[in-house]
Symmetry: C2
Subunit: 296 residues, 2 copies
């Protein structure tokens, strides 16, 4: 399941409840577009803001709706204890794979992160994806840590962040990792603007934010790049430059949540406070972007 | 209550339970040392790793044990909704003040952080302390945001991080803020190595990690500095240089948790996994530091 385009949908909610109707409407779009896989309650699905019980319930709804498309979910939590509970819940609810970022409040050491993954990998029976997300976890995976983690049982994919770290050429990093990783561990890319070149450079899967809202355009870019049509993939991605600029400025979550509301797929303000959807002049920009995405 | 030395004790725990016996033993030491105030379930008290229910229960125990010493607690959480619940719980359990850091998973904007504090300040009836903690929240308060927050109702103190930001002289920052803040808002310092010079530069309270374990030495340094004996305070603080070096290398939480275990005040491994206490050669260094602190 770790090839192609994995769509990361929103979990629309407000201060009093999760909007399950909107959530399922968004997942249905992904099923209709025949995405390769779905990751519910990833960062874009606000897993960190939900209780373990809410996450288990939402996963079950998604698996029922997915019509056989593999569903992954994040099991990240501040405490190892809660990660293990999330993993057990997710397996019970039918997750095909688990995604784990080293969520932190106190900055974690390399040893602590290795132990976290070692503990979890030893307890699960479905594939695990290692999630690099320095913007939310503030943890830097060293290349040697990634290689050590890749040797743990059940580890099946690494979700890298494109363009990271800024101090080196990220495409070289992808090539080097690809050459060093066991072949059964797939290399995946996140950071949508970096997807097309990263897939052309050897990544096998795009863990995609826009794929959660605009699955057809993300599927098109991913499959062009994976089948060797890197130039066409890059052209398609370049058409979305205004969207990538909005992501950079406001964060992808605020932009896709605002876009979902403008498309009638969720209510306004569908993020957990203190996070806010966007308002004012930027909405016109988002509206223009939506139009161009729908045409592409 | 926002002057002098506020002690931040540990919350010793393991994967199956909170060690309430050890927790109360540590608090009793603070009461015996007549600290100016206590902040339970601050960052050193692992608030971020505890449930709202656990936090409320632990606060009640602390207030009962405190013998009239004012007790503050952190109300931080990822969701505004949970911050409000924590605030309500804390007030019910007898908190004299509330401490709030802008906890994040998705990076927060200035506007989101202002709204968070505005919402909370409008709902509470005890003083609020604004908590700058870039190492755990990854949020940078601008000077103008701090001044705007200081004007909100119930805001009574700001807990700055000493030595931060690295790009400017932190003592100048303290002087500038002190001159600009309303006089009813006290300026406090955290980052223990920076306490003595910051108190001499005009901070009124030290929010102290070592105060949670070695209350007498922290009280001595704080009160020397506050009563104009800055040189003596600096000398006392300089004696602890090996401790400050350990804090910098391993993080203050791992060091004080390890020291508490070595002192018989908590069990080994009293932090929430994936966080680990220290082991190996560094324990000898900690043991030497403990000896020198106890002599000072």
């Amino acid at each position: 399941m770790f090839t192609g385009m994995s769509a990361f949908p929103l979990t629309p909610l407000n201060e009093s409840k999760i909007d399950e109707h909107a959530y399922l409407k968004i997942i249905t779009r992904l099923v209709d577009a025949k995405v390769d896989s779905i990751c519910v309650q990833g960062s874009t699905g606000s897993y960190a803001y939900l209780t373990l019980k809410e996450r288990a319930h939402l996963l079950r709804l998604a698996v029922e709706e997915a019509n056989g498309i593999p569903v992954m979910t994040s099991i990240g939590a501040l405490r190892t204890r809660d990660v293990l509970i999330a993993a057990e819940n997710a397996q019970k609810m039918g997750a095909s794979a688990l995604l784990l970022a080293p969520v932190s409040y106190q900055k974690l050491t390399l040893d602590e992160v290795f132990s976290l993954y070692e503990t979890v990998a030893g307890e699960i029976s479905v594939p695990l994806c290692i999630y690099e997300s320095p913007g939310t976890t503030h943890f830097d995976f060293s290349p040697s840590l990634l290689l050590n983690l890749a040797r743990l049982p059940n580890v099946a994919s690494i979700k890298l962040l494109g363009g990271y770290p800024e101090s080196e050429n990220y495409l070289n990093r992808i090539t080097n990792l690809k050459n060093a990783l066991p072949t059964h561990v797939s290399l995946g890319i996140s950071g949508d603007v970096f997807a097309a070149p990263s897939l052309s450079a050897g990544c096998q899967i795009w863990y995609s934010v826009i794929g959660g809202l605009f699955p057809r355009v993300a599927m098109k870019i991913a499959h062009l790049a994976i089948t060797g049509k890197g130039d066409e993939a890059a052209q398609q991605s370049a058409k979305l430059a205004p969207l990538w600029a909005l992501f950079r400025q406001y964060g992808s979550l605020r932009v896709v949540a605002s876009a979902a509301a403008m498309l009638g797929l969720a209510e306004n303000g569908c993020l957990p406070l203190p996070l806010k959807t966007l308002h004012g002049d930027v909405c016109k920009e988002i509206s223009d972007v939506i139009e161009s995405v729908q045409l592409s």
